[in-house]
Symmetry: D2
Subunit: 327 residues, 4 copies
Amino acid sequence: MPVPTHIFDPPFNIVRASHVALDVTDLAKSRAFYEGAIGLHVEDADGSAVYLRGVEERQHHSLVLRQADGASCRRMGFKLGTEADLDKAAAHFAKLGLKHDFVTAPYQGRTLHVTDPAGMPLEFVATMEKREILLQQYDRYRGVRPQRLDHFNVFAPEVQASLDFYASLGFRLTEYAEEDGPNGRIAAGWMHRKGNVHDLAFTNGAGPRLHHFCYWTPTALDIIHLCDVMATTGYLPNMERGPGRHGISNAFFLYVRDPDGHRLELYTSDYHTMDPDHEPIRWSLRDPRRQTLWGSPAPRSWFEEGTPFHGTTPRDAAFAANVVIAS
Amino acid sequence: MPVPTHIFDPPFNIVRASHVALDVTDLAKSRAFYEGAIGLHVEDADGSAVYLRGVEERQHHSLVLRQADGASCRRMGFKLGTEADLDKAAAHFAKLGLKHDFVTAPYQGRTLHVTDPAGMPLEFVATMEKREILLQQYDRYRGVRPQRLDHFNVFAPEVQASLDFYASLGFRLTEYAEEDGPNGRIAAGWMHRKGNVHDLAFTNGAGPRLHHFCYWTPTALDIIHLCDVMATTGYLPNMERGPGRHGISNAFFLYVRDPDGHRLELYTSDYHTMDPDHEPIRWSLRDPRRQTLWGSPAPRSWFEEGTPFHGTTPRDAAFAANVVIAS
Amino acid sequence: MPVPTHIFDPPFNIVRASHVALDVTDLAKSRAFYEGAIGLHVEDADGSAVYLRGVEERQHHSLVLRQADGASCRRMGFKLGTEADLDKAAAHFAKLGLKHDFVTAPYQGRTLHVTDPAGMPLEFVATMEKREILLQQYDRYRGVRPQRLDHFNVFAPEVQASLDFYASLGFRLTEYAEEDGPNGRIAAGWMHRKGNVHDLAFTNGAGPRLHHFCYWTPTALDIIHLCDVMATTGYLPNMERGPGRHGISNAFFLYVRDPDGHRLELYTSDYHTMDPDHEPIRWSLRDPRRQTLWGSPAPRSWFEEGTPFHGTTPRDAAFAANVVIAS
Amino acid sequence: MPVPTHIFDPPFNIVRASHVALDVTDLAKSRAFYEGAIGLHVEDADGSAVYLRGVEERQHHSLVLRQADGASCRRMGFKLGTEADLDKAAAHFAKLGLKHDFVTAPYQGRTLHVTDPAGMPLEFVATMEKREILLQQYDRYRGVRPQRLDHFNVFAPEVQASLDFYASLGFRLTEYAEEDGPNGRIAAGWMHRKGNVHDLAFTNGAGPRLHHFCYWTPTALDIIHLCDVMATTGYLPNMERGPGRHGISNAFFLYVRDPDGHRLELYTSDYHTMDPDHEPIRWSLRDPRRQTLWGSPAPRSWFEEGTPFHGTTPRDAAFAANVVIAS
């Protein structure tokens, strides 16, 4: 199948993955997880929401937890270049006939809500309230020492269509997994805006659903320490996969589940991709090192479970997901 | 069951685990594995044997590979305090009616062969030819940067009997895994002479067989690098278990298999045990963090497969090993 | 003094620092240093030049060593977005009256030579021959495991003028050191294109001269290992400064000198800067943590010595450099 | 000069360095330093004393801070094998005519105070109250994650005499620094009981004074993190030397000063020395890599300043210390 070609001169400038808003069913429990175990910093909190960020992030929050009756992902947030890009984005989505709306959101500048063609709820901001960087307030480092939100990964029922749509917004493919043979379909793709392996990835599966969001950590030893902490503080069942080395992205990783089952990846040491002539890497679905370079398979839950997007009903994947599970 | 009490004033002084001699079926292939991938240093080699050591070891070898028709472990070697200890050892084993013999072995001083009551072939030396320490010849660091042989782990058909015998030689128990309940049997025990978690461990299983021998490495990152190297140089099938953190010993570990299936552990960061009033830690067989603190189970091969001792026929375990596998 | 404001819509698109060409007086000795100790990969070599790259780089080379009678830096190379950007660049420099020329260079696409207003020799390419990425050929990792060229740092006789010029090419300031007081002059500035702390930095001093070029390494432990290797292989006199943590950039660093005295930095773990509203960090010249967060001063050589650019005569700094040395 | 030969069958069994008692002039400030910055665990505290330990230590304390009018070291504590060893020790010191006394000390078993021939106040215990090991309570890891007290280093006016005395108690020399030439005097020596590089070291200088005590940490990255924390929490002036690699001991180290100037070393990755035929390593005083493998000199304060032992008046060194400073 054709590898999607990104647009070099996109209709508006998306800078990077910026923040995510999650509905959680027990706010105190979720805060204890993200602040106490993971080590994110609570910037603001009230009875209904908690706002967190990593030590490198100068924006008010990259994770918003909201008390709700059911667990879901409300929105995945992306940062645009300027206010003008927000208006260009609105015009572009209007032209495409996609549902969109400017809303107000606490601590954020003008916020544009959009539902993508697959039904995923996005939000775009050009600005957010700024806070002092904590990168050199080393005594405030906790847990896995999360530095910054890195990317989102979603289950897509039609991976090729999703890749094509985001390529048309300027996202660039860096790696992809494909069936072998002349008619092999792409089963997963990783796309970036900010110059590393990804801001947004798509995996074949019933969706749209959020597979995981990811924070960057300084070193693999921080991830190993998080394993030790989680295993000895009652979070043993929340450790789902890893630590290990991804073949795809080359990152050292760990996947954990929060108290509602939302999946968080901790991740370090991928590579640069900002060259315009950077070519994507193809992986065969038959290569077990794709997912874990060291060969260890992911558990079934990792292939099947994900967070629903609020108000969205997942559809079945366009083709059998078991090619992925089998590998 | 009673926890074995070691003898404070043993009949002779065993200092530590010292070396191991393995029969291998393709000497070149085995050398490529231990020198090329693992990073041990070849001190001497001829057509029939290769002698290797870690960067910290001043003795001529800690691993001997010998070309043979079948794969087996010839001997596990221990270092005694002095030449006088060798004679005391011979006298002690004579008194016990155990088969023993002084032999000559290349690069080693007087060498005492003994078969223990379970049928395990041991060898004792007080001295070996010395070589220059490589610890500060940093450009010779390779692979996982193995520093020193740390310990042996064996399948024992009667763990309690083995623990009792080695306690009578001065080995001291540091950790053990036990069935729950008033009549719970010990299923595994870790014993030391040199002051860390172990020189010799016993696991319930058909035996005697060598479960693994272990080299100490400087950091967990060296072990992660070995995973990356093995996964990308054709050794993917040789990666059996880990990396992970042991509950028992607290060490960060990896288990790999050599070309003949001999199992090697890479291991770092356990703790000191030299206090005479140091008390052993008990683990319930039901606690999954015992084997991997992070909860991930070991593969079936790890519980079942091992290296036969040359000329020894393993016996079935005294009680069902599945209590171990189940955990 | 006014902090320079970069141009959001630059006259042509510079992607990042790309490569550097050094004249060396003993090619074999220099190759031994960069290949043997540092661990860069030799992609091509003949009697007069050696071409090297890091494990992450897909371009043919990021370092060119050329045999010459005297040591100097021939050119600092930057990668442009497309071939069209090369022509736009030529037109822009023509308009500015700057000396420029299209030349042919081995393994590189069309190559534009330019001398900047301060007299620095630059070269721009949009393409270079591609080579297979070595990132997952882990058995080829050597030395400090250099991943990619990260940035250049130059002595500038007029820092403010240099910052203003490169801001007009789209470089963005991320950190700067300034004299205290209402008329405090900027003594040093760090500017980026690719989204981390810098591609190019300027330090007050007799110039233009190359202060150093820098490779990114995976972790601080790789840098510590390089120290151990250099100290024990005859390179002790080549270790100039560090390891340590920069206040500016937050990176863990080491500075070493090659056999001709060219200065190389090894560097890891800075932060992202791609947000258009990212604000530069100001450091007072009086803050000792600016250069080394831990307070240890740099040696005098680090403030005074640098590599001349070929055919360029350095001028004295516009104001006394001792404000820098004093700190 | 003759290298001291240790006694294989010492008059009583010293197991290892165990604990140290310091007089401090502001107990709250000292507690903030050792608990807050270094990360030791406060096991007990009252208005006049604070008791701390590392995560691996099962004994009640390894560091005692006592409020006092002046700063000093009260006692260096060593652990003996058994209660019987305490009595043998008392008898031995009586025979030598050394001042000694059984005293009671909080949380400790029978405690024997002794003043060594050079005037150093020691204390010996066979037992101390036990506390639960914290090694796998990973959420309680703080600061540099100190694991255990490793050793003491003292200024000795007559190094050779001190080495000889402690050799007569069974301490074994592992490394030493010596003047070159046929009559070269030993300027420093490292001696152990527990099987790594040292429990007690002597450096030529006005004394007896405590040069430093040392805690073992898991990895070099923990030490780097401590540097980052200290530099950004007001402890910048307390960072005295390092981090770096010792030539002697091969350990990665950092020296810091507490609020009273008591010197603490953080240290990791030395090597095993338990073999009875282990031979000491000689270093020439002219080799700069002895103190820091990477060649960087220690500051003057490190050579000259130390903690007085309570009630003891230091004497000048037997020969000029500047041979040490010069290196």
